[in-house]
């Protein structure tokens, strides 16, 4: 079974530029998450999708971050414009739509450096 795919793996941009990350979840997984992991901290949930609908985006900085999951499969996360404090690893995870104890499977992440 293929895992969660993310691209690019690394991205370096200057502040005020725009950037987009892509995630392809495990086939059949209805729930998709984007987490932000700042160096030295645990991952923090940014947004959760159930199929193509948003379940929780309470911690997404909506003035600069946006995300979509068209057709309930792939997802993109965009930052426009980027700030220095956005430097982090962005992790995508997916799980079968079931109970909260169902395992979330994580992708390798995209490491963003904002200069």
């Amino acid at each position: 079974e293929a895992g969660v795919a993310q691209s690019p793996r690394y991205k370096i941009i200057e502040k005020r530029q725009s950037v987009a990350f892509w995630c392809n979840p495990i086939s059949g997984h209805a729930t998709l998450y984007w987490y932000q992991q700042i160096l030295g901290q645990g991952p923090k949930l940014l947004i959760q999708f159930q199929n193509n609908g948003v379940v929780d985006d309470s911690q997404l900085p909506k003035d600069r971050f946006s995300a979509e999951r068209l057709k309930g499969v792939d997802s993109t996360l965009k930052i426009q414009p980027a700030k220095l404090e956005d430097s982090a690893v962005y992790l995508c995870a997916s799980r079968v739509a079931g109970g909260p104890a169902d395992t979330q499977y994580f992708g390798p992440g995209t490491r963003l450096t904002v200069l």
Partner: protein, 115 residues
Amino acid sequence: AQSVTQLDSQVPVFEEAPVELRCNYSSSVSVYLFWYVQYPNQGLQLLLKYLSGSTLVKGINGFEAEFNKSQTSFHLRKPSVHISDTAEYFCAVTVPSGNTGKLIFGQGTTLQVKP
């Protein structure tokens, strides 16, 4: 609201020695508890989880954890570590009610296994 505290940011240990990584949580409701491992430049991998029942949970790679409700702790242990166990370890909680499966992570503990 729930929170997770990992009491040690770094734990150095010699190969074949036992290790304990400490995790405490705060919640006014029952929670599910998880331990994840993150190897360099990789995503998170589930080690084990506690849902209910026996308070001693066994996971992959020889790890186990014990849930202590009175002390609100979920410490991770391994009787004999290997060099390959060097990684970042994250404790996390989620709330059974609802179906979001949102994970709240601690800040992580770096396990450094020395030869």
